[in-house]
């Protein structure tokens, strides 16, 4: 490994000051007179509930939005950042909440193209050499030749961060970068970034919902509430309770009971039975190589695994987004392929990851998106005619019960904050009786209140007799919620254990591909 200095630019970390920034979207005041100061080499965390205005603040900062008011100072000089290109020239880079890689290009191509100002002919030999040198300085490995689109969320996010480092940024803005990373992956990524900050090579502004990361890496925090400055402080003096209190604006009730004791699962035939399921990835390579699993009513089966081992494809097959190439999927004993009729008959619902991409039509209204499950059933529709009134009534009900922050049900869903898109989908999928629920990384981007609420809803669905398949890259989440945990590796289920007997070290062993060693030894 080469020393980190070689990666970093000569210019080093920059000092950032934001003064009195405001931004409205129509009637919505997303930001109201927010100020923020980060010294060079600072590791600053920006906290707040879903929809508090965190993403808006940083998007204004990098010129993605134009602020209505406000001043930005870099190294004590006022700068005008009119668009992301200006920001990039100042050495400011951002990792967005959503992914920005070009799916059809390989990781290497994505990195090289991101450098911009490319010559007419790219000397790939030279570029590869430069990339390999750079990768050698990193504490983790990334497949350079895979198309970015085929990477799982965790891998994609790592590439996004690496891309920014490769571009030699002076200020790195991370908008919920670790939502899809395992704690270990998050530590790798943030550890690297933190090292650079400590050596005053990089200033970091991070948006996160995970207090663990704040206490481990940040040296100061700023909290937003409903678009306004709600407090700030230095670490380690500031406690988690204090931060949470600033976020919600009132003392936070201690977690009542994180997990009520599970009732044992009744010994009934499985509701979901998957046998020897095979499927191919986007590029014709097998990603599922004979998956066997079953989920009974009233049970949560957790699927653990390092991202990129076929969990994504498994969820896609079950939600009808990917065809299978072999094996059977039975729901209530009947073949299931994700058609609408089958979904209705078996009451199958799903919460896929990246909801804006997988479960919403971004350019259509909140009301439309909330009706996706039952637009063709009474009371929303009769004889093929849709009742706008019923549709709006349902959407308003969802917005209220699930506290979705939206300018209105007619707003395009892509204008909602990341967490609120997730809530809108949750509302749609969990407002009807559920028999089978397919869930992937359900708390991606949710604030701590919403995480607790979502987990409670999943448990409630389970207790009401739903069979839940929960794919998550967060082991803690699985240990908290699941009745049984199965580990997926290289397109197969390689290990399975009841949750109460689960041992984190053992799970980790299998997640890291440990079964292969065992096979070899036998």
């Amino acid at each position: 490994m080469k020393p980190v200095e070689m990666v970093a630019p000569a210019t080093g970390a920059l000092e950032l000051e934001i003064m009195g920034m405001s931004k409205r979207f129509g009637d919505v005041v997303a930001l109201d007179d927010v100020s923020l100061h980060i010294p060079a080499g600072g590791f600053h965390a920006l906290l707040g509930e879903n929809g508090a205005g965190k993403s808006t603040l940083v998007k204004c900062l990098v010129g993605f939005y134009t602020a209505d008011q406000g001043t930005v100072l870099v190294d004590n000089r006022e700068v005008q950042i009119a668009n992301p290109k200006d920001a990039s020239q100042l050495g400011i880079g951002m990792v967005y909440q959503h992914f920005t890689l070009v799916p059809s290009m390989t990781v290497a191509e994505n990195l090289v193209v991101a450098r911009g100002a490319l010559p007419a002919f790219i000397n790939w030999h030279e570029e590869r050499a430069r990339l390999s040198d750079f990768m050698a300085t990193l504490p983790f490995k990334i497949p350079l030749d895979k198309p970015a689109g085929s990477l799982a969320a965790g891998e994609k996010q790592k590439v996004e961060i690496i891309k920014q480092l490769y571009l030699q940024r002076r200020l790195l803005i991370l908008d919920e970068p670790t939502s899809v990373l395992t704690p270990d992956e998050a530590d790798e990524a943030l550890g690297l970034v933190g090292d650079l900050a400590r050596q005053k090579l990089l200033t970091v502004l991070i948006i996160t919902h995970k207090f663990r990361e704040v206490t481990a890496y940040a040296d100061a925090v700023t909290v937003l509430r409903r678009g306004r400055f709600a407090g700030s402080g230095a670490l380690p003096e500031l406690t988690i309770e204090h931060m949470a209190e600033m976020m919600v604006g009132s003392p936070v009730a201690q977690d009542v009971a994180p997990r009520t004791q599970h009732t044992p699962v009744a010994d009934v035939p499985p509701r979901l039975l998957i046998d020897q399921l095979c499927a191919q990835g986007d590029h014709g390579l097998p990603v599922l190589r004979g998956v066997n699993l079953s989920v009974r009513p009233g049970e949560i089966l957790g699927i653990a695994g390092v991202s990129g081992n076929g969990q994504k494809a498994l969820v896609e097959v079950l939600t009808g987004q990917r065809g299978k190439t072999g094996g059977t999927v039975l729901v209530n004993g009947l073949p299931y392929s994700g058609r609408r009729k089958e979904q209705t008959l078996n009451k199958v619902y799903s919460l896929p990851e990246e909801p804006l991409r997988n479960a919403c039509v971004a350019s259509l209204s909140v009301a439309h998106n909330m009706s996706l499950r039952n637009y063709d059933k009474p009371p929303l529709a009769r004889w093929g005619w849709i009742s706008q009134r019923a549709m709006r009534k349902q959407a308003n009900g969802y917005v209220e019960t699930f506290r979705v922050k939206t300018p209105g049900i007619d707003a395009r869903i892509q204008t909602l904050s990341g967490g609120n898109v997730q809530r809108a989908v949750l509302a749609r999928e969990l407002s009807h009786p559920v028999e089978l629920l397919i869930v992937a990384n359900p708390v991606f981007g949710l604030d701590f209140n919403a995480v607790a609420e979502t987990h409670a809803r999943l448990l409630a669905a389970r207790n009401a007799g739903a069979a839940v398949l929960l794919v998550s890259e967060d082991l803690d989440e699985l240990l908290e919620l699941a009745d049984r945990i199965a580990v997926m590796s290289d397109g197969r289920i390689v290990f399975e254990t009841p949750a109460e007997k689960a041992d984190v070290r053992e799970l980790g062993h299998y997640m890291a591909g440990g079964h292969e060693e065992t096979e070899v030894m036998q």
């Binding site: 001043t71 039509v361 350019s363 637009y375």
Partner: protein
């Protein structure tokens, strides 16, 4: 302020195309001036030729009838996220099959013959464009290119059959299929010199608009067009919807071909390939793929077409002058698409305290 915000989408939907039309007119005026004519005179003649008298209105509406349908051939597939430009071919094929149907049904009552012609024309056009939807979903062929290539084939087929196996020996200087017979021709709307095709087109557009706006079919189609992955998650069979939307669009163009034969030409011949399919692309884009808006826009473009003759007679400008205007409109409309969602009331940006202090110092 509140009102402008509420109606911003509508203002945008109408305002942007209207602005684009005005800009295109301005550019066209520049062109006219450059070739040594008075723009004012040209615009006056354009207006007169399109809407100036009852005669020019009839001329305009006659052209609007097929344009409504070929506009729909673009607008319907667009709901499902497709850009289809092969309407001309579907129209040609619709014309050909309707002529074949007419000769097969000779002897039946005129209503049956007409129904048979229109249905077979629509069906064939639908299959043709449906094929480009199929190619896209199952073979990965871009539907825009696919529909264009299929369109060339369709036009070639029409020419082949009209000049070859299906040629009526009596049609000497203009090869045609056998005439469908005067009794079988579709007549005019009561009190007008415009055939029933205009009404059929308008009904097709209105029904499409109602379906898209008020029914589950429209909901599903919008979902499929907006995000196929989300549609799959909702259990919709995306492939079927895509092919279906392509079929529906193609059937509109095929119907246009059948109407041209049954109401205007009286036989299938090369005259039906008169650019209606391509002008339909323009109609759909100006109408922003809204089936309802397709009707007035088709009348507008029909009017511009109709005025071509007037320009030729009065100013001795070539017929193609109006095509230049159409081309300019098309480019400007496409360019203005990017303005979508950026139409904002220009706002005064207050000076920040710091920049105020700095500018005071200097």
């Amino acid at each position: 302020m509140e009102l402008t915000r509420r109606f911003l989408p509508l203002v945008e939907a109408v305002g942007i195309p209207v602005m684009a039309l005005l800009v295109a007119m301005l550019l066209f005026a520049g062109f006219v001036a450059a070739v040594g004519q008075s723009p004012l005179e040209v615009f006056v003649l354009l207006y007169k030729g399109a809407f100036g008298s009852s005669f020019s209105w009839q001329n305009t509406l006659l052209r609007a009838a097929p344009l409504i349908l070929t506009g729909l051939a673009v607008a319907i597939p667009a709901q499902a996220g497709m850009v289809i430009i092969g309407g001309e071919g579907a129209l040609a094929l619709g014309a050909l099959t309707s002529a074949v149907a007419a000769s097969a049904l000779q002897g039946a009552s005129p209503h049956w013959v007409q129904a048979g012609m229109l249905l077979s024309g629509a069906l064939c056009g639908g299959v043709w464009i449906g094929l480009s939807g199929w190619l896209r979903q199952y073979r990965g062929v871009n539907e825009t290119i696919g529909s264009l290539l299929l369109s060339y084939i369709a036009i070639a087929l029409l020419n082949f059959f009209v000049e070859g196996p299906l040629k009526d020996p009596a049609s000497l200087n203009k090869p045609s299929t056998a005439p469908i017979g005067d009794a079988n021709m579709i007549g005019n709307l009561p009190g007008m010199d415009v055939h029933y095709g205009l009404l059929f087109g308008a009904i097709f557009a209105l029904v499409t608009w109602v379906i898209l706006k008020f029914t589950t079919v429209g909901f599903a189609l919008k979902t499929v067009g907006g995000n196929p992955r989300a549609a799959q998650m909702a259990g919709l069979r995306v492939n079927y919807w895509i092919v279906g939307a392509a079929f529906a669009g193609g059937s509109a163009a095929g119907l246009a071909g059948a109407i041209e034969v049954a109401a205007v030409q009286g036989a299938a011949n090369a005259s039906v390939v008169a650019g209606y399919g391509y002008a339909g692309i323009l109609v759909a884009f100006i109408a922003r793929q809204n089936p309802f808006a397709v009707i007035p826009v088709a009348v507008l473009i029909g009017g511009i077409n109709a005025a071509g003759g007037m320009l030729q007679r009065r100013l001795d400008m070539p017929d193609a002058t109006v095509l230049v205007l159409q081309g300019i409109i098309f480019v400007v409309i496409i360019a203005s698409e990017t303005l979508n969602g950026r139409l904002r009331l220009i706002k005064f940006k207050p000076l920040s305290p710091v920049s105020a202090a700095i500018s005071a110092k200097t």
